[in-house]
Subunit: 289 residues, 4 copies
């Protein structure tokens, strides 16, 4: 390990040569961790990180199986190593944030990066390992927290245009989607209370209170239909038929909204491409398409 | 409490000063209950009413659980208080209706407001508490009626543009949606009668009559599939396979209609934005599209 | 009842006065049975026929319940009466077919009407009552045949624009929809044979042959999921997971096709409306929008 | 059978008359196996091959039933005969590949054809019969391989425009569809690990590890809902409610993407049709859009 003293002297050395070596090293690191076309080292780094994320994902699933202690200790070691790598990556990204936002000052750029959605996900995914070192926490809770790590896989898509389009569609249609969800929630509550009044007398176990009936309502409205709870009275079945039909509408409305959103997004992109002024090749006049 | 006499004198006082104070107070009340941008008091009133509605919603669900008497009495008190508040709000809205429709006479404006969809919902949501005071009714029926109160939550959306777009899409596509529902209903009846003829001999309990078979048909066509009733003969299974496939179409058709409706709504809004002035390429005059 | 002789003389009478009374009566009947705006008699006739169809529909369902003999005999009488009315309506429509297709000769117009989709449905819906009078048939078969009568309800929509749009969308997209169904059928067969090989050893009863496995495949692919048959091996569950995901695609593809079809239909209708040549109001030049 | 010697002499004969008879025969064969309008022989050949494929499909299903030995031997004979026919068809297609790609040399054309998607499917569908002749393989594995034969039915659509449009839509939207699948996969893993932590204590059999929980998650998210595994704790039910709702989104997003894709495809085709010559309003010259 590098001693703290040596590190200080290194830091000093770079500071002194701030104009050349420090800057060059920083920009090299930045190029490595940021995706840049035609740079094989950057691409290799990307593949390495993504592989690490997927392996982490697999270990989370494998952990739930009954495993011999030897395998379990290998998994624990692998987890620690990968969190250390992710921590270094996170720190490097914070360090080079001023190259990502060249128009901002160094401090502001770093703050902006730390507050970005992806950086928060990165932090949340490495935090669960460090938290028990600082605060003694119940292990059971920790296991749930560790799932935050899964969000790391979103990094794979950091670069894709497609996920961006999807996010934009959802953002633009948020008001409509939330409205439709509100209507559906209202529907579920009405159905639950009605069904509770209808069925609780005949099936007091299955429809014991409005929450249990809500379980039935959601199961029916989303067309999942586990079949653990269902009405047996005529009135109950009639209500269930209405709810099942409204469930079709429940799929249709958000689908319609999202579908229109994607059609709009495509048209917008096309229009932006087309919005160039053309000139008549014969007389040279401007032609607005 | 304000005595009836005092109230009369107050009324008289306002009537006398009809030109100034009464009108001013009325417009102040109107501004408070109607959403107006930049008015913090109006915003606070909105948030208060919405919070009250949500709390009422929660109590309806909580009521179905087994509760100690102390909690139950708190809920009853809370319900009475909130219905009084809702009643006052309703009366104030009726009172200020002539400011909402300034082009109408006072009486007509109030009548128009009372007959509006939202006012009817408001009235239905407060009525269940008052009804037993006037007519002695069975309590069981009342509990069902009380669900009308839930519709109050639609007020939250009274102001949203999104719900309006959704309502317009449904209104415009109503004929097509009803047509597709008609076809589906016909399909369900045909499937039910056919299935009754096929399965009733083998499973007389599950498929005892066409209504019970209809229960199966809806469960299959909406792809809920509880699994409480299903065919066991080869002919029955073949029919169920056809019905399940038509169920896919049943989702596809309304979704397609609604989806096209939303795309149309977006295009219409855009066109309205674009309706700019064009110029005739021949004489150079302005042309309104 | 009118005797055959009297009928002949009536017919002769009309033939003799072919130029006036016969024609006038025919056109009156045609106006009555065909929907014509502003004609109250025609509207009343429409409502009467539709009511009769719905009542017939209800009797079909009611028949499957256990009923006292008195009720059953009433139903049978009602059925006979309504079939007689439908038969008269059918004959009148054939008789007035030359007014429906004025450009054709009388014989050709009648043939064209008899071969039209709606006339075939009409005939099929009244035939089941007459068939046993001509050929002795098993009653069990007849009950199934009687469902053809339900198709009469499609008459309600004979006049709606909406059902026409839907039919056109389906017709235009038929090739794509059939193609997607073909892909799905292939998928089901592949899934069934694979699943039979995987699960039949462990669950020989549930997955006894490829047809039983197909029952599972359809139930999963259409997301119905009754829960009467499901894989229990790891390989079987993995296959079921893949099939369930493809089921999502199965909904998505026809929905996408139909949705695009409806959007296209709307655009086409709009374009047809817009396709008028406009003139510049200032200089009088033609302006193609 | 034709002896190898005779075949060689035939080949030589055709080579010698390369300019006339060999070429003519080849082009005749090519016309027969390739779909060409107005050629009844070619159409008959198509129908024959498609019938053979469908019959093969049926035998695969029939084979899984318990059959007498006589029927089984008929099926085996039929399979061998049809594979021989398919092999001849495959070889003829390879032989006439230079007529399919006239711009390429004979060798390159054949290689290009062999590597085409349809040719690979053809090869895979006939290979399973020949493999055990070369390498001794376990019969169990072979049965699974034989399903490759089913892909032959895709040939039916080789000629349809519709399947081509569908394939293009999927290809163009691949990035978005894969992205949405990635988000869904992440969702499933998160739901599985969370649910394992919530339910495994109460239902150790049903939720024994993350894979079993994943089985539940997929069943819920795709709205299949077999009902063999479902949560019974309050926390588990709440999670299941959230997952069921996200399941609606899971249908909505790919449907929206595909729907927008089909709308785009239609517009593109229309635009290509419309790409007519326009005239510059300033100088009157032709303008190609």
């Amino acid at each position: 390990m590098i001693s703290a003293k040596k590190l200080d002297s290194l830091k000093l050395f770079f500071r002194e040569n701030d104009g050349s070596m420090y800057k060059k090293m920083k920009s090299n690191v930045f190029e490595l961790i940021e995706p840049s076309k035609g740079n094989p080292a950057s691409k290799a780094f990307d593949i390495f990180i993504i592989t690490l994320i997927i392996l982490n994902l697999i270990t989370i699933i494998v952990e739930t199986f009954e495993l011999p202690d030897a395998v379990r200790s290998v998994i624990v070691t692998f987890e620690i190593v990968s969190v250390i790598i992710f921590t270094i990556e996170y720190l490097l990204r914070v360090w080079t944030a001023d190259l990502l936002y060249p128009q901002l000052s160094r401090g502001r750029a770093r703050l902006k990066y730390i507050c970005s959605f992806m950086a928060i996900i990165d932090l949340l995914s490495i935090l669960p390992i460090y938290v028990p070192l600082l605060i003694p926490l119940d292990l059971r809770v920790l296991r749930i927290l560790r799932i935050g790590r899964l969000l790391r896989i979103l990094k794979i898509n950091r670069y894709t245009h497609a996920l961006g389009t999807m996010a934009r569609v959802f953002k633009e249609k948020a008001a409509q989607l939330i409205s439709s969800m509100l209507v559906v929630s209202l529907l579920i509550i009405i159905a639950s209370v009605l069904m509770y009044n209808i069925e609780s007398a005949v099936q007091p176990d299955a429809f014991s209170n409005a929450f249990e009936t809500m379980w039935w309502a959601v199961s029916t409205l989303t067309t999942v239909g586990y079949g653990d709870v269902y009405p047996i009275t005529v009135a109950g079945k009639l209500l269930a038929i209405i709810i099942a039909f409204l469930g079709i509408g429940m799929v249709a409305v958000p689908t319609g909204i999202i579908s229109a959103g994607f059609t709009e997004a495509i048209n917008k992109e096309k229009e932006e491409e087309k919005e160039e002024i053309a000139y008549c090749p014969h007389c040279g006049h401007k032609l607005h398409k």
